[in-house]
């Protein structure tokens, strides 16, 4: 068995299979189980190591040649693979409740394959092209037939497409800077190119205008999926750059730039989230804040940044998935995600309301929830460098918290005397319930995700230690 076949080609084949199936439940089961198996394989079966099962010997080889270039997924990639496919399984199981599995499972599998290929391709620079293809595939995922195309979708397409040329150019210039570090002009040019490319890719302020637009006009579960997977892969891509080029790694300016960019995203995203009346837009701003935290974690390189950034991915995905799942349930009932339309809905949809509120609290890093432990570690590390940074981060966090309190108040307050009742079906109740328990479990016992990080020290040659 080859690692490329296992983690890139099999998901594409599974996507093809799900396109042929009509029943939504079967699609969910196939997508979820395939992703879960791939995650477990990545977590527990090492690549390039012969395993014996009685008389049989079994080995997953790491490389495959395509068009004169090699695609390689080694042990160093297994941390990322385990996390991505494990979380993908969670997303797929939830897609049945959100009624989007016919779109999300096949497109999600192919998009994930392309993004996995992006960190398998050598030279890694070509990842920008594969990410662009994943972005292009996201468009039919976001726009169902018969629905108008929102401005957010167009802006998303434009901004993400513009990232690719900048990154490719920067990647071409960077080896030159590495070879002649004294060439200041070349260093400035490549830094500008790289910054612009990643600003577009990460949707750094002010380039994130498409996120709230997208999350207001499109299905929350699908938007949430896109807002989870693309920044996560972009983060891996940034780490790849920092790991390969010592002048980037040792630069004093890059961590500062990352910190400022992350801080602006946390503060602006948090403050705007507090004033949103549309819960989809609030989700969008929360995603912006989460991406800001990624950037803040990356600013701690080369010390602890990689570990914190990786550990932020799991709470982010869980929080956003539960938030989006709860929104999907509420939207199917109320038809709109405007707070005015959802007044008092907690009495008829208590599980979805609790799921939504807890996800919002987790996004704000509230104690006992999944967002708390790793956020705390990040704040602790940042506090040793700058207390002003912590002050501004807290402002952003209070913004998210205010948004959560507003949501809770609006959803639970009503002038009519509506009796409390459980209108969620069993599947919705179980999935949101499991999500809530997972949020608490990760908040109380963050070490349970440790097996996924066993290959982290070898993931990046220079950063992972």
């Amino acid at each position: 068995m080859n690692a490329i076949f296992l983690w890139i080609i099999i998901p594409v084949l599974a996507a093809g299979l799900t396109l042929l199936i009509n029943r939504q439940q079967h699609i969910v089961i196939i997508g979820g189980i395939v992703s879960a198996i791939l995650a477990l394989t990545a977590a527990f079966i090492p690549v390039d190591l012969a395993l014996r099962f009685g008389p049989f010997s079994y080995k997953i080889t790491s490389s495959l040649q395509i068009l004169g270039r090699s695609l390689t997924l080694g042990q160093e990639d297994q941390t990322g693979l385990g996390i991505i496919y494990g979380l993908l399984a969670f997303w797929f199981f939830g897609s049945g409740v959100a009624q989007v599995s016919r779109r999300l499972v096949p497109f999600g599998l192919v998009i994930t394959s392309l993004l996995v290929a992006s960190f398998a391709v050598d030279p890694f620079l070509y990842a920008a092209l594969l990410i662009e293809m994943a972005v292009l595939l996201s468009i039919p995922l976001l726009v169902p037939f018969g629905k108008p195309v929102s401005r957010g979708v167009i802006r998303f397409l434009i901004y993400q497409t513009l990232a690719m040329p900048f990154i490719l150019f920067a990647g071409w210039l960077l080896p030159g800077v590495e070879a002649s570090p004294g060439d200041l002009a070349l260093a400035i040019q490549s830094t500008i190119m790289l910054s612009l490319g990643f600003a577009f890719l990460f949707s750094v302020f002010p380039l994130y205008s498409w996120i709230p637009m997208l999350s207001e006009d499109n299905h929350p579960y699908i938007v949430s999926f896109i807002l989870w997977i693309l920044p996560t892969i972009a983060m891996l891509f940034v780490l790849g750059f920092l790991d390969r080029y010592s002048w980037l790694r040792n630069s004093e300016t890059i961590p500062q730039a990352l910190r400022i960019a992350g801080l602006i995203m946390v503060v602006t995203g948090g403050i705007w989230a507090a004033f949103q009346n549309h819960l989809g837009r609030m989700l969008g701003y929360a995603a912006i804040v989460e991406t800001g935290f990624y950037l803040l974690a990356l600013s701690l390189l080369p010390e602890t940044g990689v570990e914190i950034a990786f550990r932020l991915t799991i709470p982010r995905a869980l929080t956003m998935a539960i938030w989006a799942l709860s929104l999907s349930v509420l939207q199917s009932k109320a038809g709109s995600l405007n707070l005015l339309h959802l007044k008092g809905i907690a009495r008829s949809y208590p599980v979805a309301t609790i799921g939504l509120t807890l996800a919002q609290l987790s996004a704000a890093g509230f104690p006992l929830t999944a967002g708390f432990p790793f956020r705390l570690v990040l704040l602790e590390k940042l506090s040793t460098q700058s207390l002003t940074t912590i002050f501004w981060i807290l402002i952003g966090i209070f913004g998210l918290l205010a948004g959560a309190i507003r949501t809770m108040t609006n959803l639970s307050t009503t002038t009519e005397n509506i009796p409390w009742q459980l209108n969620e079906d069993i599947y919705q109740t179980v999935l949101i319930g499991v999500g809530i328990l997972t949020l608490f479990a990760l908040g109380l016992f963050p070490q349970i995700v440790h097996p996924f990080f066993r290959y982290l020290p070898v993931a990046f040659e220079h950063l992972g230690h």
């Binding site: 395509i66 068009l67 004169g68 270039r69 391709v121 070509y126 092209l129 594969l130 662009e132 293809m133 292009l136 595939l137 468009i139 039919p140 726009v143 169902p144 037939f145 018969g146 629905k147 108008p148 195309v149 401005r151 979708v153 167009i154 397409l157 434009i158 497409t161 513009l162 690719m164 040329p165 490719l168 150019f169 071409w172 210039l173 030159g176 002009a185 070349l186 040019q189």
Partner: protein, 198 residues
């Protein structure tokens, strides 16, 4: 010498086609200009790549044009044939194109300093395409025009990138990106009107 003259002529054609895309209001003319633009890209790319590989740019470009053309033909009647609101601000657009062209010409001599082996014609054409493509993106909200602008920006990028990167895999991925963009363009033109076309 002849190659240089032809290349400069191609640069002028690139300016005319990209400006034409911005100014024209008829989708048939726009697609015609796009096809000519890809012919220019092919010429400039073949200066650095083997002819067979450079031909992929031409074939891809014309496939892109065909995809968009077929889509527009399918949805005739549901979208405006000629954009009425685009006739305003012609003078402004010509002025903006002039500014972009002057900036492109001013930057051109500096680029070969850090991209050795690339000719001024490729750089000029590339910068003009990227500049006018971004200008076009900045002043339109129409889906069709957005796709045309993105294709123009990518065509400019491919022209300059061909001089520094000759990998077959990159050529394949860039081809995939251009075709993907055209298919996405097709999709966003068709998807909102899907029930009507059925």
């Amino acid at each position: 010498m002849l190659t240089t003259i032809v290349s400069w002529t191609v640069s002028v054609i690139m300016l005319l086609t990209s400006a034409g895309l911005l100014l024209s209001r008829d989708w048939r003319i726009q697609l015609g200009l796009l096809a000519v633009q890809y012919l220019g890209v092919f010429w400039l790319v073949q200066l650095h790549w083997p002819l067979a590989m450079a031909a992929t740019k031409l074939i891809t470009g014309w496939m892109v044009t065909a995809i968009l053309g077929i889509t527009y033909n399918e949805i005739q009647g549901q979208v405006r044939e000629v954009e009425e609101n685009w006739q305003q601000g012609h003078a402004f657009r010509i002025f903006a194109v002039s500014i972009v062209s002057v900036i492109a010409l001013a930057i051109t001599p500096q680029i070969p300093q850090f991209l050795p082996g690339i000719g001024l014609q490729e750089v000029t054409s590339s910068l003009i395409l990227i500049g006018i493509g971004i200008l076009h993106l900045g002043i339109t909200t129409q889906y069709f025009r957005v796709i045309l602008s993105l294709l123009t920006v990518l065509a400019g990028f491919e022209t300059i990138y061909a001089a520094i990167e000759g990998s077959v895999l990159v050529a394949a991925l860039l081809t995939g990106t251009a075709l993907g963009l055209a298919l996405v363009g097709s999709y966003i033109l068709i998807a909102p009107n899907w029930n009507k076309t059925e």
